[in-house]
């Protein structure tokens, strides 16, 4: 189909193309700009329509698809096969006894699933038919949400949800900012700021867009919520300008616009290809050990069934050939032919098939769902602060909770509160301490009255080098972003940050009279003892876990350009060329021994020419669509070099309530606790002692600081010798760092296995997220395949939560990534003992009994049937009436055990929790 556009010399060819291009080229508002792409012919790709389809069936596909999905369950399939056999052969029990309950179960399930799908259809329809507003030829046009196409310019009003993934073009705000909440996506309820690129800010009227000539290039859709790479080419005054697009420019479907009257955005991903659409597909399934054991039971019983049938077919033919058939029995198919043998075998199978407890699956399913409800209902696992009860994202792993042998705990936010407070800082070789909200020199309780040059410089970096957002509480409850509302003390400011450390540092600055007011027109506004200073933000190099530092490039009022940098001291020290490194590292060790988190602060001043070069390189790297991360990293390392060290901050992270008690309880229950943290060795060891993970008297084995694989080998051998030479009574703890672990996991796994088996506790420090998962995988494959659980609160714990048999999320301050990816989640670490020792143990006892009883009752039921064959000349006569067979399974015996499976408590709750040794297996 050819479309001719009047006034433009471009032929638009529409054709079907199904393969997904690596890079999407989107003409904003369908204004074809051949001047940007350089292509004469614009071939639009066919992207999926913006229709949300969460429903699984249509009227036409419901029956076949639903039946197929139902018969994929082993129990239903088994029933079906037996039913079919019964219809074909001369059956000893009536097929009705099989087909009736099967039809009943299938129908009830189909009705339930059909109803759920109908609800989904309704919800889909509501979303798809929701009003949306797009800009077409300079006019606003109402349409349905499902009609939005990639490339449309969409207008979204305050409090509306974004209908698809949009690249933000402009908002009513002059700075080109808007605020969104992403509670639907990741559960985080705080406001987030999104921005548009400066060049499109001015398009604030519907009519403006006719003149907009822009092309967006972006990656093909990926599920990662925290990744968006693209660039925008825009024609301005006849010149082509290219800007990088990243996560801060995109508005995701499902998020909601807040505190912003309207925004305009260009649709980039629609329908099933939005981040939400892609994320709603994936669900990793884990199977519990009991379930796997149950499946082996099932296989054993199926083999038993076939064996029994074979033996009795053999017996029948032996008997009928040895002893002549009595004259009073009507003659039948007793000759030894293949067909007869097969038919007899099937007849015996049908006769004995109740040996497999069909009701088991239904019973277990109900039992588990009710069990997980008790988990959610438990008042003792309700978190007052968050107003959130415990949460079971799955019910398939209930009993696994009671089987945990290894627990992997994150430190920050899991063992600790993740509420940071600045305790010390070391500036220019002098330690300062915070006492009663004032800054004092160490060992003197006199507050510092006049800030020296060094102090001012140090705190200037602290107050500027961050990504904190300021919210101002007005008289009402609504939070308004306060770019323009000032208060000298800053007391009524609410600082919001993705990292609690940053928040603590900016709050500390406020206490010392250096108040951050937020940013306005690209300027950060700070009052130093009531004197306002404005710093122009030229660039922000955000924190990432590889560099482990962040920088802000600012221009002060005198026009000087500074690179302000803060980050993990190891990484900063590498980039530092001047400053008092010696005393700083001495102080860092001192702070670390107190269990404090330390950050190094550095800065440098650069000339405008230097800045232009660096900024250019940075812009180029950020505009790359391929290998962007690597290129950006290289430029960042260029920017963050030759720094001058200003000082060190030490932030305290308080322990959560009852952490030592919980760890001791778990250990008494025979659970081995491993702490995995990204923190440095000294801090981690200190926290380990204060949490009771390590006890005084335990001997520390350090496997740290080994650079090469050979070093590790030597260290491990030495540590193993220490253990073999020592007294029997000694208890050992192992401390291992990321670097050593890397080598050990690659080359010396057997040695590590041996070492770990002789240690009562293990502490892994300096871990990267992926290493956390590697440690879990290592333990999972130890001898005996122990059941592992991982508990954590942050996005960096997600990989280990996925890897472990049971993943537990803590609802913490670092977002909800861990919670949404976990199997179970609750607010505080101390609930863990209840979850594992009480709930998990009860689930296990209940399920184990249900499974064993179910198999037992059917064996007991079928045994007389087997013996009866000796009394009926092996003629497959059933000892029971067909309907007795039916109801024995469905009602008579499955209901009592279901009640038991839901409510049984073999011990008092207080006894289980009070003496954890009861639950150790």
């Amino acid at each position: 189909m050819l479309l001719h556009r009047p006034g433009k010399g471009v032929v638009v060819v529409k054709c079907m193309k199904h393969e997904q291009p690596e890079i999407r080229t989107i003409h904003v508002g369908h204004n074809v700009c051949s001047s940007i792409t350089g292509e004469e012919v614009y071939i639009p790709h066919k992207y999926p329509h913006n229709r949300v389809v969460s429903s699984q069936y249509t009227l036409l596909t419901f029956l076949p698809k639903n039946l197929f999905s139902q018969f994929r369950r082993i129990a239903n399939f088994y029933f079906l096969v037996v039913g079919i056999i019964q219809l074909i052969i001369d059956t000893p029990v009536t097929p009705i006894a099989t087909i009736l309950p099967l039809t009943f179960v299938i129908t009830v399930t189909a009705i339930k699933q059909g109803y759920e799908d109908w609800l989904r259809h309704k919800a889909d329809k509501e979303i798809n038919y929701r009003n949306a507003t797009v800009v077409e030829k300079g006019h606003l046009k109402d349409c349905r949400s499902m009609d939005i196409k990639v490339g449309d310019i969409v207008r979204v009003q305050i409090n509306e949800k974004f209908p698809c993934d949009l690249v933000m073009l402009s908002s009513n705000n002059q700075d080109g900012k808007c605020y969104v909440t992403t509670a639907n996506l990741d559960g985080e309820t705080n406001l987030k700021t999104q921005v548009c690129i400066p060049e499109t800010r001015k398009y604030r009227l519907d009519t403006d867009f006719e003149g907009l000539e822009a092309v967006i290039e972006c990656e093909k859709p990926v599920a990662d919520l925290y990744r968006f790479i693209g660039r925008l080419h825009i024609m301005q005054n006849g010149q082509k300008i290219t800007r990088p697009l990243s996560l801060e420019n995109i508005l995701l479907q499902g998020a909601r616009l807040r505190n912003t009257t309207f925004i305009y955005g260009c649709a980039v991903y629609t329908g099933q290809e939005t981040k939400m659409g892609l994320n709603s597909k994936f669900k990793t399934t884990k199977f519990s050990h009991v379930e796997r054991r149950m499946n082996t039971f099932l296989i054993v019983f199926i083999i038993t069934l076939f064996l029994l049938s074979s033996i009795f077919t053999g017996l029948k033919y032996w008997y009928t050939t040895t002893f002549i058939l009595p004259w009073y029995v009507p003659p039948g198919k007793d000759e030894l032919t293949t067909m007869n043998v097969i038919e007899d075998f099937l007849a015996f199978t049908v006769l004995y098939y109740y040996i497999i407890p069909i009701s088991l699956y239904v019973t277990i399913e109900i039992q588990r769902v009710v069990g997980s409800m008790f988990f959610k209902w438990d008042c003792s696992m309700y978190d007052d602060e968050l107003d959130h009860p415990a949460q079971a994202n799955t019910s398939d792993l209930n009993e696994e909770l009671g089987q945990v042998e290894y627990l992997f705990a994150d430190k920050t936010g899991t063992l600790t509160e993740n509420t940071m407070q600045l305790r010390f800082c070391s500036i220019n070789g002098i330690i300062y301490e915070e006492i009663n909200d004032t800054l004092c020199e160490y060992n003197s309780s006199q507050p510092v009255s006049n800030m020296s040059e060094h102090l001012i410089e140090f705190f200037t970096v602290l107050v500027l080098c961050h990504t904190v957002r300021v919210d101002h509480k007005t008289s009402g409850d609504t939070v308004v972003s306060t770019d323009s509302i000032y208060s000298h003390s800053g007391k009524d400011y609410e600082y919001n940050a993705s990292s609690p450390d940053e928040k603590a540092l900016v709050e500390a600055c406020r206490k010392y009279g250096i108040v951050f007011h937020g940013s306005r027109n690209d300027h950060m506004e700070v009052t130093f003892q009531d004197t306002m200073k404005r710093f122009k933000v030229l660039n922000i190099l955000e924190f990432d876990s590889i560099r482990r530092c962040m920088s802000v490039i600012v221009q002060d009022e005198t026009g000087e350009i500074h690179v302000l940098c803060k980050g993990a001291e190891i990484d900063i020290f590498e980039k530092v060329s001047s400053g008092d490194l010696q005393s700083a590292s001495k102080h860092i060790n001192q702070f670390a021994k107190l269990g404090l988190r330390t950050l190094a602060i550095a800065k440098k001043t650069i000339s405008r020419i230097e800045f232009e070069t660096l900024n250019g390189a940075l812009l180029e790297a950020k505009s790359c669509l391929q290998r962007r991360e690597k290129k950006v990293l290289e430029v960042c390392n260029m920017v963050e070099s030759e720094l001058k060290l200003l000082g060190v901050t030490a932030v305290e992270d308080k322990l959560q309530k009852d952490v030592p008690e919980t760890i001791i309880k778990l250990r008494n229950a025979g659970i081995k606790v491993w702490v995995l943290t990204g923190d440095k060795e000294e801090t981690a060891i200190n926290i380990s002692y204060s949490t009771g993970h390590f006890n005084m008297g335990m001997k520390e084995l350090h496997l740290t600081g080994n650079v090469t694989s050979d070093d590790c080998q030597i260290a491990i051998t030495r540590l193993c010798q220490t253990i073999t030479l020592s007294d029997d009574g000694d208890e050992y703890v192992l401390i291992i760092d990321g670097q050593s672990l890397h080598h050990v996991l690659a080359n010396h796994q057997p040695a590590l296995r041996q070492l770990c088996s002789s240690c009562v506790a293990v502490l892994c420090c300096r871990m990267s997220p992926i290493q956390k998962a590697q440690v879990v995988r290592f333990v999972k494959h130890l001898a005996g395949a122990p059941v592992t659980a991982a508990i954590g609160d942050g996005a960096n714990d997600v990989s280990m939560i996925h890897e472990a048999h049971v993943g537990i999320g803590i609802m913490g301050k670092e977002g909800r990534m861990a919670v949404t990816n976990s199997d179970y989640a609750f607010g505080k670490f101390r609930f863990l003992s209840r979850a594992l020792l009480l709930h998990g143990h009860l689930y296990y006892i209940r399920l184990a009994t249900v499974v064993q009883y179910s198999f037992y009752k059917n064996v007991a039921f079928i045994t007389p049937q087997v013996f009866y064959q000796f009394f009926c000349h092996f003629s497959q006569q059933s000892a029971y009436d067909s309907f007795y067979l039916l109801f024995y399974n469905i009602t008579c015996t499955s209901l009592p055990i279901l009640i038991y499976g839901m409510f049984e408590q073999h011990m008092l709750q207080s006894k289980l929790l009070g003496k954890p040794a009861y639950t150790s297996q």
């Binding site: 009003q157 409090n159 008042c379 107003d387 025979g670 009394f871 000349h873 003629s875 709750q909």
Partner: protein, 276 residues
């Protein structure tokens, strides 16, 4: 230019209501429950009680059963009364002979009843007879047996080959049809399947016919309970530990208890007071 007024969107994100779960006994899994804890104090009396109850019951049942008179007379190989003196031909042999088809055979069994009082019942006994064979059991027509007049074509197919027969060119249905009926109206030729046939004469009592098994079973179980109870009592008195001992032991090394088979004994209230 179109101006759009959007209706205020109801906020679904915020929930002012507290999400604290309800503190009910059901939801907190604290419904009143009975948790039986087995201790020597409860188990030993139970053993003796069972023994004391079962032994007299068993003795009574056995006594009653023994007083029932039951005589069985096997006539599988009884002599044909019409047979000549020297041949001693049995009825079984007589009927086996093809030339005697359609003939009847009469034999005589002499029955002497001593001390039979009250009603005397007669049973018919067969051995080695597979009355439960699938094709035999189902070879009947229930409607016909219920008294309905059945057309030969309506009879159940299960009756084959004793469903219909043809006589003088017309098809007649057996009444009753089927293998069961076919064998029932015979004085069973049992030799063919190595069986025996007998007449059983018996008196009865309030517990039915002669059945010594029940009484013996009660006696055995009761005696076992007494013996085991006595053995356990001795073990208990001699080697049993007081509850305080268990608590002390547990405090010393809680992990060692993970393998104790019956952990609940540890918690038994007043366990071992007997030995005090």
């Amino acid at each position: 230019m179109a101006s759009i007024s959007t209706p205020p969107v109801v906020d679904q994100d915020e929930k002012p209501k507290s999400r604290r779960p309800k503190d009910t006994k059901f939801k907190q899994q604290k419904l009143p429950a009975w948790q039986p804890i087995l201790t020597a104090n409860t188990v030993l009396p139970a053993f003796f009680a069972i023994g004391i109850a079962f032994i007299p019951l068993g003795a009574t049942l056995l006594y009653v059963s023994d007083n029932i008179k039951e005589n069985a007379y096997d006539y599988t190989h009884c002599i044909n009364i019409n047979a000549s003196e020297n041949t001693n031909e049995t009825c079984a042999e007589f009927l086996k002979n093809i030339s005697n088809a359609g003939e009847t055979c009469t034999c005589r069994v002499t029955v002497t009843l001593e001390e039979f009082s009250g009603t005397v019942y007669m049973y018919y006994g067969l051995t080695n007879f597979y009355q439960n064979h699938r094709r035999y059991v189902r070879s009947r027509d229930d409607n016909q047996l219920n008294g309905q007049v059945m057309d030969p074509s309506q009879l159940a197919d299960d009756c084959n080959p004793y469903k219909t027969t043809s006589l003088n060119g017309s098809t007649l249905g057996y009444a009753p049809c089927g293998a069961i009926a076919n064998s029932l109206f015979n004085d069973y030729p049992v030799i063919a399947f190595d069986g025996t046939k007998s007449i059983i004469l018996t008196t009865s009592s309030w517990m039915g016919g002669k059945n010594p098994f029940l009484g013996i079973a009660y006696l055995v179980v009761g005696s076992l309970c007494i013996i085991l109870g006595a053995a356990f009592l001795i073990v208990h008195l001699k080697w049993g530990k007081k509850v305080e001992w268990w608590i002390k032991k547990f405090d010393e090394d809680p992990l060692a208890f993970s393998n104790v088979e019956d952990e609940q004994q540890v918690e038994g209230d007043g366990y071992m007071n007997i030995s005090a």
